[in-house]
């Protein structure tokens, strides 16, 4: 197996996640896209760890995973707050910083 195939796959996932972050209206969908990006990053890390025969890849991916979970928790809490204040989770409505 080529290393590249994993890496390119990871890059694809990452960019799709980028598209999703930028283009999706609903806040939860944005969080999901962030998860996509993190998935791509994990794949990248693990691929390299396998390539180099070292543990760091997995360990790092483990940490990323953990942190991603924490981040989703917090993110959703924020989304909930936004929803409470604006009665909409639409990110276009969050524009009090406009101007």
């Amino acid at each position: 197996m080529l290393l590249n195939q994993f890496l390119i796959l990871a890059a694809f996932l990452f960019c799709t996640g980028v598209y999703g972050v930028l283009a999706r209206k609903h806040a939860v969908l944005v969080l999901m896209s962030i998860e996509l990006m993190l998935a791509g990053v994990n794949l990248n890390l693990v691929a390299f760890g396998a390539f180099r025969h070292t543990d760091i890849g997995q360990v790092f991916a483990l940490f990323v995973l953990t942190i991603a979970a924490a981040e989703v928790g917090i993110g959703l809490a924020i989304v909930l707050l936004i929803y409470r204040n604006l009665h909409s989770a639409d990110l276009d409505d969050v524009d009090t910083m406009k101007g």
Binding site: V21, L22, A23, L91, V94, D95, T96, K98, G99
Partner: protein, 724 residues
Amino acid sequence: MWFLDHAWLVPLIPALSFVVILLLGRRMPRHGSEVGVSAVAISFLLSCGAAVQWIHRVQDAKGGSALGALGRSIGHLGAESSEAPVLPVLHSVTWFQNGGVKLTAGIQIDGLAVMMMFVVTIISLLVHIYSLEYMRGDRRYTYYYAALSLFTASMLLLVVSDNTLQLLVGWELVGVCSFMLIGHWWEEQQNSNAAVKAFLTTRTGDIGLLTGVIMTFFVIQRATGVGSFNIIELNRAASNPKVGHTLILWTAAALMLAIIGKSGQFPLHTWLPDAMAGPTPVSALIHAATMVVAGVYLGARVYPVFFNGFSIGSGGVNPMALIGGITVLIGAALAFVQDDIKKVLAYSTISQLGYMVMALGVGAWTAAVFHLFTHAFFKADLFLGAGSVSHSGSHHSFDMKKDMGGLKKYMPQTYYTFLIGTLALAGIFPLAGFWSKDEILANAGHNNFKFFLVIGLIGAFLTAAYMTRCIYLTFFGEYRGAQEPHAVPHVDEAEHSPADTAAAVDHDAHAHGPHESNGLITVPLWILSFFAVFAGFLNFPHFSKFEEWFDPRFPVEFHDIEPILHPAAFNAILATISVLVAVTAGSIVLAYYRGMLPQRLSERYAFFRAGKAFLVNKYYLDYLYENVIVASIKGPIADGAYWFNQHVIDNVLNYTGRGARALGRVTYDYVDQKGVDGLVNGIATVTGDSGGEVRKLETGRLQFYALMLVAAVVIFAGALWIFN
């Protein structure tokens, strides 16, 4: 030669007394007059000392002294001179020096200076003493004495100066003093007018003096290469052929103008009669004896300039003699129609000054100076006599016809002294006037100026005539003045004002009618009469002390003038003729007044009336000067100045103002509103608009910002990859 070397004290002491009187006079017991009198007395004594020493100096020169030998050795240059030359005493200090030009202040004491000093100081002293009585209780007594002191100092400064610049200073100062003293009672408009007229008329002459003095500088420069104002150098340079005749002629003409103004020659004589508005002692001192002769003195001092300029040596009519001659006649003619005794004497002065100038014009230097000397005494005598008459005889009036007459018995001393003065003036043998006037006539005849001899004789006739009229009207006949004591203050001409009369006048003429004057007045009169009698003998033929002592002796000075300046010998025939002329004139006048001749001619015949009107109006000269000349200069100039002011200056200002306003408007509208404000507003608008544009990036939307970030990163990454 102490007195000669220190002759600079003579002007200095009266000058100091002027300052002292001005500052402290009011507080002194006699109001400053004591300072004035003593100062002049000291100056007089110094002048006497100087005169005596000068006479010794002359005699030493003739004798065997070393000074005389020196003088004679120089005198060989003027080989024809039998008189030994005597050097004048010179002292000077240089007060300005630049590139060879030295301006000095100094004294030149020779015979002429000594004689003038003597005359000025003695007459000034007598006038000071006279004024103690005459001006008693006057409102400005102290200032009067201050002005008298200043005048004496200035006249002496003029007389002793060794350069024309200093002479100019003295000349101007005496003019100022004359102005001050004529206008002594300036509260009456007539007096201040007279003072201004005197000042301005002499000022016209002073234009000539200033120009002349400047020209003397250049005369000397042409002759010696270095310009200066020194009189001895000037006299030398005037005879120097290196100086062109034109320059000398113009210098002489300019200085002649000065003489005309100051010495009351035709046509600038009109100020002298009006100057009689001043107090009588002032008239005696300034307008008879001393100031008016400053012109004649100038002529005598720088005589070579006139001699060479007007070519006096060649006979014929020259401006100096001509003007002098005209003055003799017109002054004498006008003296006939005056009712005011002072005005008679004023015109007489004009006439006698004419004699002096005429004498200078015919080359009779010694005669002119001698006549100056004697005239001072008898004219001062006459004036002070007139003052005495008015003071004690006619209640301060000078009108002969109205207020005088028959005063012979009331005022004998005044009468006798006045009579002596009159006889001297008329030139009756053996009084002083005879000798001096006769010398002028003799020289005129001798030097080929026969025409002026005739004029001189006519003048002598007229002089005797008007003086006889004057003395007759004043002292003979019935007393025409008021006799009772005054209950009402009288309105009289320009003498003491009613205010003074009501004030502390303590003499009691009002209570008693005419009476003789106080000793302070009569003693000076007698002293002057004494001189009027005996001064003439100084130049008695073959005795000729005046000539010997006072003639200029510096041969190089008058080198080629000497032959002419030899005074003519005494001509007995001419002398007799002149005396006869005078006596005839006097007799005719007396006959007229005794009724033996046709009376009231001017009232009966139109011809005589016109003639009298012409004379009374002083030949309409005053009219000419004031209404024609002055008005025609004043009017157009004033109008022109007014037009210029209104149309040119005001327009300049108005247009400047309008232009400034328009400029302001333009600046406001374009520069300010559109330009500056536009720029400022433009900047603001641009900033605002660009801000507005940039603000559109601030959408407040998270994803938009995120997009910006990512896009930037992508672009950078791409750029990096491509360029690496």
